[in-house]
Structure formats: C-alpha cells, structure tokens
Amino acid sequence: MKVLEKMLPLVLVGTVLVIWEAAARSGLWSRLLFPSLVNIVQELGLFFTRSASLMEAWVSLQRALGGFALAAVVGILLGMLMGRSKLVAGLLDPLFSGTYAVPKLALFPIFIFVFGIGSLSKVALVFLECLYPIVIMTYAGARDVNRAFLWSAQNMGASRAAILRRVVIPATAPFIFAGFRVAVPVAMIVVVITEMVASADGLGYLVIYAMSSLRTDRVLALVVVIAALGYLLDRMVVLARDRLIYWEKLDTYYV
C-alpha cells in the first residue's frame, strides 16, 4: 500500500507519456502535431551537445538574473524604507498599489525605443516586473516586525543600526524570500515573452524560430529546457532560503 501511494504521482505522468507516444505512433495525427518522444529526446540531446544553443540559454539566464538582481537590491531597499518610515510608505505605497495590477509588459514596445532592442530593454522590463512582488513583500514584513522585539532591543540599549541589523532584517528575511519566489518565475516569463516578441537571441527566440520552421519536436524540447531552468531557479531560491533562514521552516506542503 505504501509503495502504491508513492507510485501515484508517477501514474499520472506515465499515463500522459504513454498516451502521447500512442498518439504519435497511431498515425492519426501528423508528426508535426504529435512528435514522438524519441524525437523530442533526440532534440534535447542536440540542444545540450551544441555550444551554440547552450549560449542562447546563457543569454536568457543572464537577462533574467540581471533584472532579478537589480530588482532585489532596489526592491529590498525601497521595501525596508517603506516599512520603517511612515513618510516613505505614504509617498510610495499609492504608487505601487495603484499600478500593481497594470500589465507592465505593455511598456515593452516603448522600452525598445528607449533602451534599444538588445538586452537592456529586456533587463529593464524584468526589473520592473520583479520589483513589485519584492517591494510589496518586503514592505509587509518590515512593517509588521514584532514590537516587543523592537522595544526589548531599544531597552537593552541597541543603536538604530544594531536594531536594523539584528532585529528588523532577520524578521523581514522570510518575507523577502517569499517575494523572491514570486519574482523568479516572473523573471523567466518576462525574458521568454520579450525574446519571443522581439529578439535575435535567447531561448524565446529559439522557440519562435523552431515554431516558424514547424519543428514541433524542437519546440517541445525547448519547452522542457525552459521548464527545467524555471524549476532549477526556484529550487535555488528555496535552498538559499533554507540555509539563511535556518530558524524557520518553510511551511508549505510540497515545495
């Protein structure tokens, strides 16, 4: 029974794969619609053995991480300031909550004119999209630091800098990482979309190129690569979180 329960997640994946392969081999649909798993794996192998395609992945990764890192630095700074100062919060909060639901992606055509069609416009858009979750989560965390801790630290004669470093930052850290976990997939989404819309390099461009040449197997291999990259980045955030915030376990069920 125990073994059976452990196997259950594999059942779904296995069934989907078997149905897929059966559909591919049945001849009911063209190979262009349902390429066989063998072809997809071959394309995956090609992807990882060609340095050219690995370079494209590296380009995408650089854009995603560059925009994300910028957003992390600026977002933590702004969120901390908003959380610790009523004045800053009063100024910035309407700006962030007012434009939160607006799809920033619509700015991309304008960014192309302002920052050029190269990496800069994409990094700028990744930065902007990642900024919101990080600022909002950091703000929420820094605002609600347990007052008793702040009072005790003050009572024990801690300086403002010491309070910030020893009380506020550790108390806010879990919130910052929650923001990171939202922002990392967003960074991947924005990079892939912008590369699909206007680019001559990166994984998004490879997808559009394979699609235009009707290489469905190659498109699917790229989907697998992008999925794996998104998953790995998320795991890295979780890993970093668990190392840095060792005193608090991430209380989610699966991830």
């Binding site: 100024l91 700006l95 799809p103 892939v192 979309i193 819309v197 498109v219 989907v223 998104g230 991830v255």
Partner: protein, 242 residues
Amino acid sequence: MAAAKASLLIAVLAVWQISPLPEYVLSPFQILKHFAAALASAELYENIGASLARSVPGFVLGSFLGAALGLAAGVARWFDRMLSPAVFLTYPVPKIVMLPIFMIWFGIGDLSKVLIIALACFYPVFINAYYGVRQTRSILVWSALNMGATPAQIFRRVVLPSAAPMILAGLRVSLALSFIVMFAAEMINARSGLGHMIRVAENSLRFDLMYVSLLAIAILGYAGDRLVRFAHSRLLAWQQPA
C-alpha cells in the same frame, strides 16, 4: 490626505510633463489628448472587445478548473497524491512557452490564446484553493462532525467558507496574469486586440497609438483588479479587509 497620498504621483507627472522628451516618449497631456481622440473612434473599442473576448473566457475557464481541482486535491487524499506533484513541479514554468505548441494544436485563432490564458490562470487559483482547504481549522471540522454534519454539509458550510478568502486572492493574481498572457499572445501572433494594436503602432512608428493601447490595457488591468477586490468585500463581508 488624498492629495498628500498622491503627491509623489503628481510630482512625477509634473516632471514628466515639463522635461524635454524624445519623440517616442509622449508627455501625460499628449497621451490624454490622443486617448480622448481614440475614444471617439471605433478602432479602440474593437481592439478592446477582441482582447476581452480572449482574456475573459480564458480567465473563467482556467480559474474554474483551478478552483474545482484545487478544492478536490485539498479534500481527497488520493487525488492530491496524483495531481499535486505535477502541478507544483510545473508551477515555476513560464506557461507562455506552450503558445507555439497550442498554436499548432488548436490553430492560430482565438482558441489557442484562450487556452493558453486558461493554463496560466489555472495555477494560482489551484494552489490557493488547495492551501485554503488545507488551512481549514480541524476544530471546526470536528465540531461539525460532532453535530452530525454529513461530508457534503461539512464541505459546503465549513471547508468552502474557510477556503474562500484564499481562492479570491488566487483569482486576483490570475486576473492580472490573464491580461499579461493575453497581451503577450497578441503581441506574438494576432490580427486584432490591444497587443496587436501596439505592435502595429510600433512597426509604423505611430507613437500616439502605442500610448493609447498602453493606457487602455492599464485601465483594463486596474478596473479588473478593483472588480475582484469589490467582489471580495461583498462576498466575504465577515472578513477583515486586507
């Protein structure tokens, strides 16, 4: 107080208005002027209509499936074991990469766009519904059991109300996502809609139309968000406003 709150926004707009700008960055008043002109023509309404005809069905379909399956996975253990790992594993994957595949399977028309929007909207609602159910306080379920409630009654009167705030929070995220994916899909491949409009404007250097389309999608996103928050305050009146 409202004026003080908006002071930074007003300051930004004022600096934007008076600073010298390249021709591809219009000033706020110019944008408003072009937007007012566009409001008088049919083109803007047609594109908004085409966009909403894609995003609304996608949002409804994806959110409905997400809520239904998320609730089911939260309640039924075997279903949870089977479905949840697949969902959580694919959660950080940018769903838009499936658009080319969907275009090959379902054609380049609206169906592939509706389905890709539904796929993107599915995840946040599923995950929130799932956690909403799992966060139901056991003591409430035990009390209901003790008072002789049937499983169906417990689901309707205990589990559903306690998961509702989380589901609505998921709907808020997925509505924002539906606009993003709609816009992206239309920028990549469409013959109508706001994303198509901004691409055409970009390619023909019609900066006025670019900003009109941008403002229209901004207003749509903002209005949709207000709508979900309004529904939240009406449906969950017993809850403290977030």
